[in-house]
Symmetry: C2
Subunit: 417 residues, 2 copies
């Protein structure tokens, strides 16, 4: 049995683990419109300024600001209306002093104009003559050329996650294709003599493989590709052969062990034999999920030590550890420049919760709307019970330095969806 | 110009809007393993208890609890070891008084056993004889049959979102297929005479269509299917024809108007002519996004009033309104029983922020790690500038009843990823 003395809390274990992993990102070209969830391979510069012409931010009259000096309700300034700027084209006129042009929100300023007076601050005096009731300064109600981005400006640094705003920004610049990093391929190996496929009839003593599938769902959630290697029996040769092949074919290997100590030990032993540096941490100071294995293996013919994670066999622990370790490692392999910000929402605990000093706890909770916020009601169950999680909205966080929470205290809850 | 008096705050406008929409959910059968992000069509019951046999939660010895009564380090109880339970099968022995069997975590209890003594609390006295150093109660270190779920129990109510835990739970029960609701099809229509496709060369006065694509990304993010109807010129007949066809073919129509008031007014007018009840709210008390149109239209031959949303033309407003209205309406059309919990994380504002009483504000912010949490640094820019959003991690919420936030005050930030 491994000793669990001096175990590291998850965040420190993760940092040390990431230090031992090497990656070489590979690019591929895709359409910007389908790039949600992908990561930019390189810096992208603006091919032209945005906006590329001065635009009005209001409906009103394009003017020369100096002409409006001193205008007020009691002392309007009169300007000659010489035309209207149609949406989607440049004006077919240019302004001289004492002239103005009708313009709509988003319309292009005519030549000569340097500001726009809002419609509300004007009045039609006679056909062709407009009363200006308020003065405007140069640039007022106008978006200048390049006010959003300048030509040549880096608009998307390499390593950025592509979300809806990035997709919009690139398309606004006419960039319809970009280089993104290839999606990491994540090998998933299930082991355990008691484990059978979900579609199989169950015999006494057997359990269905669920960790492969919950893990696949989490891998897909962060934009990587799960590759299943099936259920491998608990014998050293079979597990070594499968893991070694997975390590060659994928960017990371995740093994979900059987629930017995011998299955876990076998997993650690096989991983350690695959290449340097081997097992980095066996055990993490977290509940659930203590018997986690974090390793990196450089196989023959490979230039890099690829990450290998051994998940605990029980489904709740496996899911928590996949969120705490597998997903951040995928983001790293994907080339994400800064860690994803986790959705940790504040909620009030409904009961006292104990924890051991130094250990980080994640407690499945139901979130119950209360006033402006939520209260977090723990769902109890032995950590082997997958349905404690289906009843949970999130996992309540008890940090390592905290020895417990009192009922009514605020805590952070990581959402499960 | 529409009057924006007595506008409703977004949450109330949304509730009133949802009250006017009718839906009829349709089922389809899919594989559980690919069901992430889908919604259960009907209640699902457990076909058998889980676990289906009593399982050990530790490595140790299966015993008859009564046999261990009074056992201690100084006064051990001796039991005869009569076998080992192999993982994945039932024991080939059953316990009589004064007997025990070696068992692993997750192993099936042998006939006659009712508890397990942890390995740490035992010692091998002689081959075949085990010293028990601590007493156990009936059921100790054992998961009972049905402790996770009982046979016939509803394990997944209709209307539940399928996340990793639900996928795992169903597969644990051998349920490999399920009925989910069909994904809503969301029609996206772009209008505005100044709007051109992203791949087109830009002429003075023109802007590229980006709202269609940011909106598609958000639609996909919540598991629905975007259907693009292209860019429609600002004339009544074209817009009516396109919207009417979209309404027939899809479950919801979203129109992103041009930036001019006339384009917005035309959108409202066309929507209102398509069927009852027509426009429900024209304008919402939110910044950005005030000129939002919420409507429902029952077309000829249809049994239901389908939702139609007119988004403001400028890209930041369009994106905010899509998050506040389009996504929750999609969840409703998808059959989600309870609203999705938004990831609102707490952060400290870095500067004073003003807001008008009654108006809800969403301010793009960069989140900067600070101590245990984050500070939220507003990114200023006119709301027309898409790149203010690419620099933002989230949108800081100023609720309607708040007239401003002081630097250093805590606020909630909705993450953009």
């Amino acid at each position: 049995m491994p000793e669990f003395l001096d175990l590291l809390p998850p965040n420190i274990a993760l940092d040390r683990f990431l230090e031992r992993i090497q990656i070489q990102l590979k690019p591929e070209q895709i359409e910007v419109r389908s790039a949600q969830g992908r990561v930019a391979y390189e810096d992208i510069q603006a091919p032209h300024a945005l906006p590329s012409f001065p635009r009005s931010t209001v409906d009103g009259y394009a003017v020369i600001a100096g002409d409006t000096h001193g205008a007020s309700d009691s002392l309007p300034i009169y300007l000659n209306l010489i035309g209207e700027v149609r949406m989607g084209s440049s004006a077919d006129f240019s302004l001289s002093p004492s002239q103005c042009g009708l313009i709509h929100t988003g319309g292009m300023l005519p030549q000569g104009a340097d500001a726009v007076v809002m419609l509300e601050n004007t009045q039609v005096a006679h056909p062709g003559e407009i009363e200006i009731l308020r003065a405007v300064a140069v640039g007022e109600n106008v978006i200048k050329v390049g006010e959003d981005v300048h030509e040549g400006e880096v608009v998307l640094p390499g390593g950025s996650l592509l979300r809806a705003p990035e997709i919009g920004g690139l398309l606004a610049l006419g960039i319809t294709h970009l280089q993104v990093t290839k999606q990491p391929k994540i090998a998933i190996i299930s082991s355990g003599d008691e484990v059978i496929p979900p579609a199989a009839d169950i015999e006494p003593g057997q359990v269905r493989d669920i960790n492969s599938y919950t893990l696949s769902a989490l891998v897909e959630r962060v934009g990587a590709i799960p590759v299943s290697y099936g259920i491998i029996p608990d014998d050293e040769d079979s597990l070594r052969e499968a893991t070694s092949r997975a390590l060659d074919e994928c960017d990371m290997v995740v093994i979900t062990a059987g629930s017995s100590a011998s299955s876990r030990d076998l997993t650690a032993q096989v991983i350690d034999s695959l290449g340097e540096p081997g097992v980095i941490s066996h055990g993490v100071n977290v509940r659930p999920g203590k018997p986690t294995i974090l390793a990196a293996c450089m196989t023959k013919g490979s230039m890099f030590a690829k990450p290998v994670i051994g998940l605990p066999g029980n489904p709740v622990s496996a899911l928590v550890i996949a969120i705490l370790f597998v997903e951040p490692v995928i983001d790293f392999l994907h080339g994400l420049r800064t860690p994803r910000i986790r959705s940790l929402i504040k909620a009030k605990t409904t009961i006292n919760l104990a924890s051991r000093a130094g250990r980080e706890d994640w407690v499945p909770v139901k979130l119950i709307p209360e006033g402006d916020g939520y209260s977090a009601d723990p769902i109890f169950g032995k950590s082997n019970l997958i349905f404690t999680l289906t009843r949970a909205d999130g996992l309540l966080h008890i940090p390592p330095q905290v020895t417990g929470l009192n009922a009514g205290e605020m805590a952070e809850v990581m959402l499960l969806n």
